[in-house]
């Protein structure tokens, strides 16, 4: 990619709020229901009905605002965004325009170079989702399912502070983690609970004025966001370097072809004629209310990461992995609290063996086949030298397969580590006696051969000899002769 150009990216993230009922009606919001079984008169836009705002939606928006150090509007206003599409029954979407509920926020991301960078959050506003159009399965017709119509969304708009696809991903992941920590969204991208549009432009490096931007839609995974942005950056640079001009337009990302292409102009209606919705009064939020919401905020990802490093002495990278998922972070803390082993050891096992087993078998951490307390017992047995770390992996797999507790498996399989020094010495002596050539080479200075001897002793003891003791005994015995 040419370094003569600078990329400027702003993201609009639509996050579905995890309420029980819709933003303006008492219909349920459960995912996957039979079509149109969760769409009532208000959702369908019947004449004469009125929207009534869901209190939880307001609380969730405030939680988000406070979590990103934003200002909460004492008074915000719903507006009608007018356009025609079959899955929008009223002919307008209720959204917020001039006075959003949350504005002027920020968060810190870590760049690829490992530096902290501040990303501004322009605003976050409440709106209702539209329904879903189904184009397959009907002859000469489109099917409309309005279950999703009226589902509450928080649209989070960043400043154009992002300078690469990787920064955009880092920002998006951060938002994703925050909304899940706050419990305001499940963040499920497959189900569309967390979606992203990207505004992308390029300009000659050093130029203050922004280039013409395009808006990329249809980005429903972190990988697609990255690929679509990178494709678009290259496309725009090619256009400009060939002496052309970037056209301001909305483009769809096609993941099969890995390219973006313009939407038909007919699908675009950039003239939304916003005006305040007369069916809804301004939302007023008091200082007391904000203070109460602030009290209810959980520990946020950045604070948790810092605490994991400061209090548990974890490596920052490991702390960063654990905090990405709140259940994983909680599992680590429960394990660390219940074991005599060092917290870093607990972190290694949660990030390593446990995460690998969860991924391999497609099991969520909440359904882990090994509880935190059970993992803690296993780590205790490493800590008190009952078993080695290597044998512990075998025990872990057996625990995962439901064979019982760490202690049960160690006993039933006879895995208890050999720590009796006379027993280890006799195996060591036998191994040295069986390999006189290597022993002579070792004594002549080829100390790398120690590993060979350790391997032989471990083989003789089925891996049960204490590795530190074996090393010590080998050095002592080899030197002695």
């Amino acid at each position: 990619m040419s370094t003569a150009w600078e990329t400027v990216i702003g993201l609009e993230i639509h996050t579905q709020l995890a309420t029980t009922s819709k933003i303006f009606s008492g219909s349920p919001t459960a995912y996957g229901a039979e079509p149109n079984t969760q769409a009532n008169l208000v959702d369908l836009g019947y004449p004469g009905v009125l929207p009534v705002l869901n209190a939880e939606v307001v609380r969730m928006a405030c939680k988000f605002g406070l979590a990103v150090n934003a200002r909460i509007a004492p008074r915000s206003v719903f507006a009608r965004k007018n356009y025609f599409y079959p899955d929008l029954p009223k002919g307008y979407q209720i959204s917020q325009y001039e006075l959003p509920i949350v504005f002027d926020g920020e968060l810190q991301i870590e760049t690829a170079a490992g530096d902290e960078k501040r990303i501004g959050i322009t605003r976050a506003h409440l709106e209702e989702d539209a329904g879903k159009s189904v184009h397959e399965g009907f002859s000469q017709a489109t099917g409309i399912d309005l279950n999703r119509a009226g589902t509450p969304l928080l649209e989070i708009v960043s400043e154009p502070d992002l300078r690469s696809a990787s920064e955009a991903i880092a920002y998006m992941r951060k938002i994703h983690t925050i909304v899940r920590y706050l419990g305001i969204s499940d963040g499920n991208m497959q189900e569309g609970s967390f979606r992203c549009d990207a505004n992308v432009s390029v300009r000659p490096r050093g130029q203050a004025e922004l280039g013409t931007r395009t808006e990329l839609k249809n980005l429903n995974s972190f990988r697609f966001v990255e690929k679509a942005i990178n494709y678009e950056i290259e496309r725009q640079i090619d256009v400009l370097e060939d002496g052309g001009e970037v056209v301001q337009e909305t483009r769809l990302y096609d993941s099969d072809k890995d390219e973006t292409r313009p939407m038909r102009s007919k699908e675009e209606a950039n003239d939304y004629r916003y005006f305040p919705d007369p069916d809804l009064l301004p939302v007023e939020i008091s200082e007391d209310y904000i203070a109460a919401v602030r009290e209810s905020l959980p520990e946020l990802p950045d604070a948790k990461r810092k605490r994991f490093v400061d209090d548990y002495g974890l490596r920052p990278d490991d702390a960063g992995i654990l905090i990405l998922s709140l259940p994983l972070a909680d599992f680590f803390e429960a394990t660390a609290a219940a074991t005599a082993a060092a917290p870093q050891v607990a972190a290694n096992w949660v990030i390593g063996e446990l995460s690998a087993a969860l991924n391999r078998d497609g099991v969520a951490i909440a359904d882990s086949r090994i509880a935190a307390g059970a993992l803690a017992r296993l780590l205790d047995r490493i800590e008190d030298n009952t078993i080695s770390g290597k044998i512990a992996k075998e025990v872990f797999e057996a625990m995962w397969d439901g064979e019982g507790s760490a202690d049960d498996i160690i006993e039933s399989r006879g895995l208890r580590q050999i720590t009796d020094s006379s027993a280890i010495d006799s195996v060591v002596d036998a191994v040295i006696a069986a390999n006189p050539g290597q022993a002579a080479e070792y004594r002549a200075g080829k100390e790398k051969l120690l590993g060979f001897f350790v391997g032989q002793v471990m083989k003789e003891t089925q891996g049960k000899a204490n590795p530190a003791q074996v090393n010590e005994a080998l050095k002592r015995r080899l030197k002695a002769e």
Binding site: G26, T37, V58, Y85, L99, G137
Partner: protein, 95 residues
């Protein structure tokens, strides 16, 4: 301010209204009188006036986040011109 024919055409497209060519002069003239009427407001001094979002000087009341609606699909779909497999049918939307 008078509207142009192009502006009225644009508004008609946004509003999905089909106007016959011979209707335009009349519609442009009539809409222009409305715009001119509203234009008078531009001369009112509003520098110190907080924009009004709603004529009722009240705040929005909120409802609890509970499900109060039941599934009335069968009844509601009796009003629809065409339904199939629980979906409302509309003329094919070309992607």
């Amino acid at each position: 301010m008078s509207l142009t024919k192009e502006q009225v055409q644009h508004i008609a497209i946004l509003a999905r209204l089909k106007l016959a060519d011979e209707q335009f002069d009349d519609v442009v003239a009539k809409l222009s009188t409305i715009v001119e009427f509203v234009d008078q407001l531009q001369s009112a001094p509003t520098d110190d006036v907080v924009p009004m979002a709603h004529p009722l000087d009240q705040a929005q009341r909120l409802r609890d986040d509970t499900v109060t609606a039941s599934n009335e699909r069968d009844r509601l779909q009796q009003n629809a011109p065409a339904v199939e497999a629980g979906y409302y049918l509309v003329p094919r939307v070309i992607e």
